[in-house]
């Protein structure tokens, strides 16, 4: 069993090396035989060789050259086994040849099968005797350091390259919502701003026209100042209403100062109102200025009319300011128109006092209608929409007339100024008649 196990190992281990060594061994031996000159020297004594051969039962005779022949043969045999055993010892990294190495050498060679029995008997003999056990112990002690250097332990460590997989970092896209929201917000603000700016421009232009008319009627020096004022207002049409009010206030102050020669308690009140920076205050100031302007040319019925017109104007103006600014602005415009009509009629003909009274009643009716509208608006929301529409309609009609007048004035500035100086009352009647008819239609 042991031998059969040993055979494949020895064949595997000794095959490549042993073949080369054996070939080299035999070549060396051939050379040695060729170079041998003295055949008298014998490695083994002839007497012993003869004794071994004669020990057989045959009692054969040998020729004279046999002892030398056998001696050489034995030498070759011993050396070949020694070389094979050395190869086996080398494979185990040992410098000492053991009997196990010789056993492997014999097992690896087919032609030495006749020696297997000898080996087996040899092992049995040595195991039984105590001397052999001592020798085996010595061999084992010698084997321990050599066995630590096994050829199988020469396995080289494999360095497997391990690469960490690089994770591609995709930058998170910014949400477009942040960019979308601010884009919409300014659009909303832009939508609101033109609506807020358009209304005060129209109202301020109406006031300017009235101021120009009064300036022309009273003093010619202020024409250039009003013209200059008109140009920047038109250019700065997109500005806020508060800015327009601040720009208008110094012009109004100049007009008031220049137009009113005698100091009165009413004038003091109007000056106080004009000083206020609120747009509602400025509108009230405009109304008072217009009324005072009418006082200068006509002196008879002015205080009575002024009182009647001033009382409802203050009350309504207070109500307007309480309710809403745009409604107040529209109402102030209508009041200016009515007051202008009354003043012109009085200036033109004293005989038509009744007409003035009738117009005054018409003014009262207008005020009542405005009051009703305000009440309805305050009561129900649905009515607000309808009322606002009506107010917008009124504004549109007045706007059309005023825009036409503005275009005529701008196109023929020089000629208009000359004509108005000569035919001021006539033009005033014609221009103001149209809005009165429009008011009647309404």
């Amino acid at each position: 069993m042991e031998q059969t196990l040993d055979v494949p190992r020895s064949l595997r281990l000794l095959a490549p090396k042993a073949q080369q060594q054996m070939d080299e061994f035999w070549r060396d031996r051939q050379k040695e035989i060729e170079t041998t000159k003295d055949f008298s020297e014998h490695a083994i004594p002839m007497a012993r060789l003869k004794k071994i051969v004669s020990s057989q039962k045959g009692n054969m005779m040998m020729t004279f050259d046999m002892p030398a022949f056998l001696s050489k043969m034995c030498e070759l045999f011993v050396q070949e086994l020694a070389v094979r055993a050395w190869a086996s010892a080398q494979s185990h990294n040992r410098c000492i040849i053991l009997d196990t190495d010789i056993a492997k050498a014999i097992a690896s060679t087919e032609s030495y099968d006749f020696l297997v029995d000898i080996l087996h008997n040899h092992r049995v003999k040595h195991k039984s005797t105590p001397c052999s056990t001592l020798t085996t112990k010595r061999c084992r002690l010698v084997d321990q350091p050599s066995t630590s250097h096994m050829p199988y332990q020469h396995q080289l460590p494999q360095f497997a390259p391990t690469y960490t997989p690089a994770i591609p970092i995709t930058p998170s896209l910014m949400p477009p919502i942040s960019h979308y929201i601010p884009f919409q917000y300014p659009s909303l603000s832009q939508e609101v701003s033109p609506m807020m700016a358009s209304a005060p421009i129209v109202n301020r232009s109406m006031l300017l026209i009235h101021n120009i008319a009064r300036g022309l009627g009273l003093q010619g020096n202020n024409i250039s100042t009003f013209a200059n004022n008109n140009i920047p207002d038109n250019i700065v049409g997109c500005s806020s209403p508060t800015v327009l009010a601040s720009m208008m206030s110094p012009a109004l102050l100049e007009v008031a100062g220049t137009s009113l020669n005698p100091p009165n308690s009413h004038s003091i009140c109007t000056m106080n109102m004009i000083n206020s920076s609120d747009p509602s205050g400025s509108s009230i100031g405009d109304i008072n200025v217009a009324n005072q302007a009418s006082l200068a040319p006509s002196g008879r019925f002015n205080p009575a009319i002024l009182r009647e017109s001033s009382c409802p104007s203050f009350l309504h103006s207070n109500n307007d300011t309480i309710v809403a600014i745009p409604e107040g602005v529209d109402i102030s415009g209508t009041m200016d128109v009515a007051s202008d009509v009354a003043a012109i009629v009085i200036n033109g003909q004293e005989e038509h006092e009744r007409e003035t009274n009738v117009e005054h009643h018409q003014q009262n009716e207008i005020y009542e209608s405005i009051d009703i509208g305000i009440i309805n608006a305050s009561v129900a929301d649905d009515n607000k929409y309808s009322i606002s529409w009506d107010e917008l309609g009124m504004a549109d009609d007045s706007l059309l007339d005023k825009f036409l007048e503005e275009f005529q004035v701008r196109n023929d500035g020089v000629l208009r100024t000359g004509i108005e100086l000569h035919e001021d009352p006539f033009l005033g009647d014609v221009m103001l008649a149209n809005p009165s008819t429009s008011n009647a239609n309404k």
Binding site: Q30, F64, C74, Q79, C95
Partner: protein, 144 residues
């Protein structure tokens, strides 16, 4: 043991032969030497046994070197057969050379003998002298 030792080859000679064939750093354990000793003895017995049987079949009484070479070749020991065949040739060449030197003296002796005796007697004597001379050489070698 004494019988075994007498029948085995001398272990000292075997050890020396092993060392001659190995590198200087090589060492041989005692058991290994004993194993080789027994194997070598068995090898010689085995081979000569095969050769003697061949001679017996051919009805010859003397084992020759050629017989041993032939036996080794039949046993599968071709390397040994080739090497030993060449060795045998070299050995015989040496022997023939020595024999030729000795043969001149033997021829002179033969001539002297022929002068003293008849032709038939002379031939027989010459052969006897040659065989005796060779046996003398064999005996002389162990002494050397």
């Amino acid at each position: 043991m004494t019988n075994g030792q007498d029948n085995l080859l001398p272990i000292a000679n075997v050890g020396r032969i092993m060392k001659d064939g190995l590198p200087p750093q090589a060492k041989i354990s005692k058991r290994a030497k004993e194993t080789i000793q027994e194997c070598a003895t068995e090898f010689i017995s085995f081979v000569t046994g095969e050769a003697s049987e061949r001679c017996r079949r051919e009805r010859r009484k003397t084992v020759n070197g050629d017989d041993v070479c032939h036996a080794m070749r039949s046993l599968g020991l071709d390397h040994y057969a080739d090497a030993m065949h060449r060795y045998l040739q070299r050995y015989r060449e040496g022997e023939e050379l020595a024999a030729s030197l000795n043969s001149s003296s033997s021829a002179a002796a033969a001539a002297a003998a022929a002068g003293s005796r008849g032709g038939g007697a002379i031939q027989i004597d010459v052969r006897a002298e040659l065989s005796i001379f060779r046996s003398g050489n064999n005996q002389g070698r162990p002494n050397n």
